[in-house]
């Protein structure tokens, strides 16, 4: 059984590790955490409470909290889509506002079609195609060597807590074999 305390603790630890804060409005925060708890009980994983989940891990993967969109959303809007995670400026202001949806509408539309069909399709596509399309690249932390594969460098290094400026791109390292 998932308890509200477990969900809260996990979110607190994740916020701390990534340099974020939890929603400063305690009532709103309570609602989000409860939504995550319900979804975890329902699906076996904490799907975003503000999005409609299909109930298939493969199709909901990108909206499992912390979702794939959290980092760019906090970067651009100061909060993630459901407003569980916010940056320090939003936290200090104590005011939250809804932000636009970054997830592609096709993904959400899958909830309204056949799960079996979509699951098969998504397995065929594999992760590679998706990664290439959204332009993920490798970054490394110049302070501790932590390597991450994503669109933008993280807010802070989750290992040594260096600022994002400490991250550099890792360019393609292609061996030409001397021909």
């Amino acid at each position: 059984m998932t308890t509200l305390e477990m969900v809260r603790r996990r979110a607190e630890l994740d916020a701390k590790a990534n340099g974020y804060f939890l929603n400063p409005d305690s009532e709103f925060l309570e609602n989000i955490l409860e939504g995550l708890r319900v979804n975890e009980e329902r699906f076996g994983y904490p799907a975003c409470p503000c999005r409609i989940a299909v109930g298939s891990f493969e199709l909901d993967r990108d909206i499992i909290c912390p979702c794939d969109y959290r980092d760019p959303d906090v970067q651009d809007y100061g909060a993630c889509y459901c407003c569980l995670y916010v940056d320090s400026a939003t936290y200090e202001k104590g005011e939250i506002h809804p932000i636009p949806e970054r997830r592609l509408p096709e993904k959400a539309l899958k909830v309204f079609s056949s799960i079996e069909e979509e699951e098969k399709k998504s397995q065929l596509m594999a992760g590679v195609v998706e990664d290439a399309r959204i332009g993920r690249i490798l970054f490394y932390c110049r302070q501790c060597g932590y390597v991450v594969f994503r669109e933008e460098p993280p807010y802070i290094c989750p290992i040594c807590r260096a600022k994002r400026e400490m991250f550099s791109e890792i360019g393609p390292l292609l061996e030409t074999g001397g021909t």
Binding site: C50, E101, V111
Partner: protein
């Protein structure tokens, strides 16, 4: 049917919300209407049946509404996507 009704003193507009039972912004929208004493109906789409979900999907697609929640429909005509208290107040003449 997964449609629920919340009674209120103001019944001059027909208000329907497509919501998620787990979503904080949907709750804010419901609370806002309750606070303003507006009668409304809503469906928590995450708890709806497969058939109902399909209908909701078609409705949103037909109206070209971005697929997010909440979606508030006033008098079967005005569609407000997201939690927008000012837009709700204006559409309802509050």
């Amino acid at each position: 049917m997964t449609i629920k009704r919340v009674e209120g003193g103001r019944t001059d507009h027909k208000v329907f919300i497509y919501a998620l039972s787990t979503c904080g912004w949907c709750k804010r929208t419901k609370d806002f209407l309750k606070e303003k004493n507006v009668a409304y109906e809503y469906m928590d789409v995450d708890q709806a049946t497969r058939e109902e979900k399909r209908e909701v999907g078609e409705f949103l697609k037909e109206r070209n509404v971005p697929l997010g929640f909440p979606v508030t429909v006033i008098d079967d005509e005005t569609v407000i996507s997201g939690y927008k208290p000012e837009a709700l107040a204006e559409a309802l003449g509050l």
